[in-house]
Symmetry: C2
Subunit: 313 residues, 2 copies
């Protein structure tokens, strides 16, 4: 096998970096382990939001205006579903629906999420390998003052409104690392591992909660590099900083660094946080980590790969 980089990612923020990595690496030289803690069953369909965000982004099909779903989407299904009195809080575009229905059909026919994801990504033209962290169900449950919420209830239905008091990953203890993820982590051609700038608590921790994942990430001795999802005291997108405050944590790249202590060998910070470098005792690199354009994504990807190369030398 040829050399490859492995990324660990969640939703849209992580997918942006993955697209940057895909664009600067040779075709096929990127593998991505994706969070499945956001997965849920809705309307009888197996929905894997982070896998789909990753696949759509890498296929050039992502809806950049919405920040989720497919571009050039139609919404007839949703309009009629509302007329019929069906649950409308989770919006599903007509094209997006094909992904969920086809995945559900194949799972019912006995295929693993890993095999289904690989095939669907391939059919949509994605040159990278997109790998679920596990083929077993892991479900992120959000504790709030008003009780526990399933992740999508918290994230979509309640729009991250309730203060988070705790997080747990139902099923994680009984889950296995997916075969493709384990094989990649133990592959001699693995050059570096990148923890994407996804929410550490909601998007990366579910994978880290699967038994053996932390050890597997270190198994080959390839450098592990995180990109901070926090710039200053804010998240670029999503509820990361809000959740950190609610959990009693200071939103800062230093808190992210502390969270990943013992797991990572290097970190990429935003240039606005260059002043923090003196507090960081592992190799760090600064760059503008805001990813608005394709060039931005490639720039952050190159910063990560440069740090990885330094750590390997």
């Amino acid at each position: 096998m040829s050399d490859f980089i492995l990324a660990l990612t969640g939703g849209i923020g992580g997918a942006k970096l993955c697209l940057g990595l895909q664009r600067v690496l040779a075709p096929g030289a990127l593998r991505i382990i994706v969070n499945t803690g956001d997965d849920f069953e809705h309307l009888g369909l197996a929905i894997s939001p982070d896998i789909d965000t990753t696949v759509y982004t890498l296929a050039g099909l992502a809806n950049c205006e919405l920040g989720w779903g497919r571009k050039d989407e139609t919404w007839t299904f949703m309009e009629v579903l509302q007329t019929l009195g069906g649950p409308a809080w989770f919006r599903l575009g007509d094209g997006d629906l094909a992904m969920h229905i086809e995945r559900t059909r194949r799972r019912a026919a006995g295929e693993t999420l890993t095999d289904i994801t690989a095939d669907l990504a391939h059919r949509l033209g994605v040159p990278s390998r997109v790998i679920p962290m596990s083929d077993d169900p892991v479900r992120t449950v959000v504790g709030t003052a008003a009780g526990e919420l399933a992740f999508q209830e918290y994230f979509v239905r309640e729009r991250c409104g309730p203060a988070v008091t705790a997080l747990r990953f139902q099923g994680a203890q009984a889950a296995n690392i997916s075969g493709a993820a384990a094989a990649s982590l133990h592959d001699a051609s693995l050059q570096a591992i990148v923890i994407a700038p996804s929410n550490p608590y909601l998007s990366i921790d579910p994978a880290l909660a699967v038994p053996g994942m932390r050890a597997a990430l270190r198994a080959r001795g390839a450098p592990v590099i995180a990109v901070s999802p926090i710039i200053g005291d804010s998240a670029v997108k999503g509820p990361t900083a809000k959740i950190m405050r609610e959990l009693g944590l200071a939103p800062s790249p230093l808190t992210v660094l502390e969270h990943y202590r013992g797991l990572i060998d290097g970190i990429v910070l935003d240039e606005r946080d260059a002043g923090l470098a003196k507090h960081i005792h592992i190799p760090a690199r600064v760059c503008d980590t805001l990813m608005r354009s394709l060039e931005d994504r490639e720039r952050v990807a190159r910063a990560v790969l440069t740090l990885a190369l330094e750590l390997r030398c």
Copy 2:
């Protein structure tokens, strides 16, 4: 309860007459028992083609160009499903899909097909009551020289190509007449029963195969009137005449009459078959039974209701 007419129907041909009846009767004075032998599970979804054709037609939502599905439909789901390698032989529009997904969701939640159908039809503005013949699974199986086919495989995938050697209605013997159908058939306000010009073998026989249905149709002594789906030696639409020939039957209104012998009290024939009247020993009425316009549908409906009135006097 106020007086009502009950129709027994299958797909598009029957739905046209039902629309005519709905238009000439007072709102709510039509109830319709619909064939569910065409129902099947596809892509994990509970699909009831004849129920949906009936509901869409009565709601003014039917796609008249296609002859099935909804008007003003979009097809994004189907396009993407084909890209993903999913089964594309049964075409599902984006809006139509909402019907199947919502029905599947409610069935999984424990609702009966009867209750779901009543609610969905009501939400789409249908003033008539649309009632499945049974809440239990009955599946039409088509025997061919190459073996048995599930009904939709025969009808849609194979486009009625294979010669039919036999028909059976799997599950019918164990099925019960739906509670709403049974209650309507035993209701003192039932004025007449109309067997719509649907395919007798594919669309009406499944209902007649449910134990007790024939007796229930006669229970109140209300006149039972059939409208011939055959004009001359042809069917207006669909494979009725073809199937009759394959089963060794002469396509003729007289064969339809013979098929319904002992069940019906009167028949409506097309005016082109007026010459057959001398062979018919039950009350018959002739009219132009081709239903292209709304006026056509109303004309045939009035012919049926006039004959019913004569039979009651």
